[in-house]
């Protein structure tokens, strides 16, 4: 076994190498400082952590299963694939690990009003769910186009008592929903807690959201050891939009160089057409409060992303992924809309699991990744969400 990799990002200013930071209007500076302090105290406190883990166990349904995918493995070659079943979390995706953590923090800070942005609606549903569970007012910003293609999740959020506000500016997708949520926060800093849904945004969000999702990778370690006798697989695979499910799975393995890490972005209609492959095709830039890779034109205007998967349809990416790319610690590739639809069918037919379109990108990438793993090697894929919400899109394309 090779020596472990030194990795301690972010620094105290929230920087992952050159990336991250807090590029925000002055109004948000005191709020972010208060949030940093509250998070640091909470994460060092056993009381907070016990409460968080108790909710993950009794409300979210953790630990989620690690499922051996024999029929999928057989199709793909001489490998043993495991699925980390975040699709079995309450609400149907990994997103709730983070919203549980953030709403506990919101309560601790005495905030009474919760806001969130959402793309696919999974983070919106996960936020509306915990807001209902704790009896807090909840407003979710969602692009008008996304509300169309994820109508089921809109209905779920409303049933849970949240107000879903349609965002009609710009591309009417996740980027613009995030703009509106930040504008709401700028206008209501005193009583409002902004629950960001990915490892994006200004410091401390990327490190905080990572902390709340690390349970994915930590469980994987102990479950894999129980199943195979080895805690470390040969490779980990996860889809990357903002990058939260990927960071949650990868982070506990980051200092173990024998574990190859693969992040899969959305290539949309192809990397020469409309896509959302920020790391593959973007350049460093500032969006939503952090320096990271960004899809932008030569004038520094943010370009519209495209993906069949609303959850990956974002022109930015978490700053930690930018740093992991530059360090070459994670290998990032991209999968097209058509390949993702194949991924949905592949996992459905071989394992009886209908994955979310986001997750399907990771599944579809496996056929390229198996060649880079030793014969008989072990691969864990983050099965980040279930596909019920995407049935309309899937049916329209089949």
């Amino acid at each position: 076994m090779s020596a472990s990799v030194e990795y301690s990002a972010p620094d105290s200013a929230g920087r992952f190498g050159p990336y991250g930071g807090a590029f925000v209007p002055e109004i948000l500076i005191p709020e972010l400082q208060a949030l940093r302090t509250a998070f640091a105290e909470a994460w060092a406190s056993n009381t907070f952590k016990d409460r968080y883990h108790a909710l993950l166990q009794t409300y979210v349904g953790r630990p989620t299963a690690l499922t051996r995918a024999d029929r999928l493995s057989e199709v793909l070659g001489d490998v043993q694939i495991f699925l980390k079943r975040e699709d079995l979390c309450h609400t149907g995706a990994h997103k709730i690990n983070n919203t549980i953590g953030q709403i506990l923090l919101a309560r601790q800070m005495g905030k009474t009003r919760i806001i969130a942005e959402t793309g696919a609606g999974q983070h919106g549903v996960a936020t509306a769910t915990v807001a209902a569970r704790f009896g807090l007012e909840c407003i979710v910003y969602m692009g008008a186009e996304d509300m169309q293609r994820q109508a089921l999740n809109v209905a779920r959020m409303e049933l849970l008592g949240a107000e879903v506000r349609a965002v009609t500016s710009g591309s009417q997708t996740l980027k613009d929903a995030t703009n509106e949520a930040i504008r709401d926060w700028v206008s209501n800093p005193n009583d409002t807690f902004y629950i960001i849904g990915s490892v994006v945004g200004p410091h401390p969000y990327p490190v905080m959201v990572r902390s709340f999702h690390c349970v994915i990778g930590e469980e994987t370690k102990s479950q894999l050891e129980a199943a195979t006798g080895r805690a470390n697989p040969d490779a980990l695979v996860a889809c990357v939009g903002g990058g939260s499910n990927a960071i949650g799975l990868f982070y506990p393995f980051i200092q173990d160089p024998e574990v190859q890490l693969f992040g899969v972005e959305a290539a949309g209609e192809g990397l020469n057409g409309r896509h959302a492959a920020t790391l593959s095709r973007g350049k460093p830039g500032v969006l939503h409060g952090a320096l990271s890779y960004l899809l932008q034109d030569t004038q520094g205007q943010v370009k519209l992303a495209h993906s069949i998967s609303a959850g990956l349809d974002y022109p930015g990416v978490g700053p930690e992924h930018a740093w992991l790319k530059d360090l070459e610690r994670v290998c990032y590739s991209a999968i097209t809309d058509t390949e993702a639809l194949y991924g949905v069918r592949l996992l459905s037919c071989t394992e009886g699991i209908i994955p979310a379109l986001e997750t399907a990108h990771a599944i579809a990438a496996l056929k390229h990744i198996v060649d880079r793993v030793r014969p008989g090697g072990t691969i864990v894929v983050n099965c980040s969400g279930r596909g019920d919400k995407d049935m309309q899109t899937i049916m329209a394309r089949s």
């Binding site: 807090a22 209007p25 109004i27 500016s169 700028v186 800093p189 350049k283 500032v286 004038q299």
Partner: protein, 274 residues
Amino acid sequence: MTSRLTRRLGELRAANEKAMGIFVTNGFPTLQDTPGVLRALAAGGADFVELGMPFSDPLAEGLPIQRSSARALAGGVTMEDAFRCAADFRMSCDIPLLLMGYVNPILQYGPEAFCQLARESGIDGLIVPDLPPEESALLSDYAFRVGLDLIFLAAPNTSDTRIQKIDRMTTGFVYAVSITGLTGSGLNGRMQAIESYLERVRGLVTLNPLLVGFGIRSHEDARRLTRNTDGFIVGSALVRQIEALWENGSLSDMQRLSRVEAFVCTLKNGQDCT
């Protein structure tokens, strides 16, 4: 060396006069209109002008400036256009000219080249609302090297010690954001809170002039908020005015520009003095 902005604000202070800064988006309504609009602002009595560099995702802006930015970008406005507009303005006007915009287009242009070209085009300073002091190292050295002021903002929820820090780091003036909100937000019902906040800031800002902005729509707003400040800045209200004037098909461009001039003059003096 004293900058044109510092000199101008100093002269106004000595004359016991409040400074008026006016913001307008470059390329709004169209790129052809901007040079005329800038001259009208100066003719109407603006003490300095902020030329907005539009960005696709302007986080601190309310709807009027969001709309003007989107319209300018749809018209294809670039950073080079801002420099050209500035150089054109400099040929006929001597009041300070600032560029206001978000950090990403500056980063893509290259901060060093950006500062150099801005200075050569006659720009006097920069306001970058998503670049707080903690992140300003990306730009500040280049700006100072060529003599561009870099203006930082304070907000109602900024602590006393932080306001003092901002006063030490800013050049030109301290920009007090009137409310916790977006540009163009209403001030109704908040006046007392704003005044006591400005009184607090007045006591803490000792090294620079203090100007207030966000939500100021009228001469009355301006008069009230300059009791404890050295001047005020208006943006969204002018942008709304321009929107309406250019939508009105019965007006000629000359008439539109003279109404812009009258609007600005009324902001400063309480009556149309053109």
